[in-house]
Symmetry: C2
Subunit: 153 residues, 2 copies
DNA sequence: GAAATATAGTTGACACTATCAACCTCATGG
DNA sequence: CCATGAGGTTGATAGTGTCAACTATATTTC
């Protein structure tokens, strides 16, 4: 029972990751907060994405997501269209501009990830991801399916 | 080269951890933000702690730390005393109230950690911590010594 | 099928977190 | 002594997290 600290390394890592990514993004003349990026990625990843599916995936408050989506729309990165299956909600899609933006960002994210995992064995990185998912699952009760998250990089 | 996602699990985990801890804290009638808690822990952990050492450890902006410390002082949880080695800075110490508060919080944090690591082997938890530290070190350039972080739980 | 209930999303409000710039005070090295 | 830098404070602003109240539509249940 070593009882090493879990929380401090976690804080440190998240902070370092977020500010590293933010810096990379800012240096590319992009002005888009992290939360907006996560939404873009999600919209790109699932077909017929709705606000609700982003809420589910990110576990963020729906109020926050609403505002993020409105800003993405105002920036011309996404469009909302009527959801034929449910008139309360709208389907979300990337515009060509949004698509291009996302590709740029994915590159930056890959760079940050590469920097972060420098010198580490891929198996260790994979292990880390699996452990992180296990920890998160334990906390959020539900396992929240993470199906070999593909390009969700 | 599986290239599993690193960022999404990380976001999910941090968010789940922070809101889990916040909830536990709130349910104990404590009203203290996470950042304040980290500062308390740091003050408790190092002798002759100054604002600067918290800035170094947490990598937060010194402006933010200044304000956190002022609030902790206003809440009677810490006291600032003149630093005999440097008249620009002050030494930080927990008051008895701060000490008691911290103990309460440590308990809550342990509970949250226990919940989070439920069913995991201790070796896996330790491994996770080491990997997290490695990742953070890679990002922040400097290794920022993490010396078998004892009660930094 | 009408009433009750639940869900998708919006809006307002507010606390917490992150970051930058300007500034003051004191320390340190030439 | 003076220049430069470090420790800390203050002000400003953007981003994030959360709660509550509300609209509109969908679903359940009697």
């Amino acid at each position: 029972m070593q009882n090493l600290s879990l929380s401090e390394p976690l804080h440190r890592l998240t902070h370092a990751y977020k500010s590293g990514l933010r810096r990379a993004i800012r240096e590319s003349q992009i002005t888009l907060p992290i939360t907006h990026i996560r939404a873009l990625k999600r919209i790109n990843a699932v077909t017929d994405c709705t606000a609700h599916s982003i809420v589910q995936h990110t576990q963020r408050d729906k109020a926050q997501i609403t505002r993020v989506l409105n800003e993405l729309q105002a920036n011309g990165l996404i469009i909302k269209s009527d959801n034929p299956n449910d008139r309360r909600s709208q389907l979300l899609k990337l515009t060509p501009a949004g698509d291009q933006m996302l590709e740029q960002i994915q590159t930056l994210e890959k760079e940050t990830t590469a920097l972060m995992t420098k010198g580490m064995k891929q198996t260790d990185v994979d292990l880390f991801i699996r452990l992180a998912n296990t920890l998160a699952d334990n906390l959020s009760g539900g396992p929240l399916e993470h199906p070999i998250q593909q390009e969700d990089a």
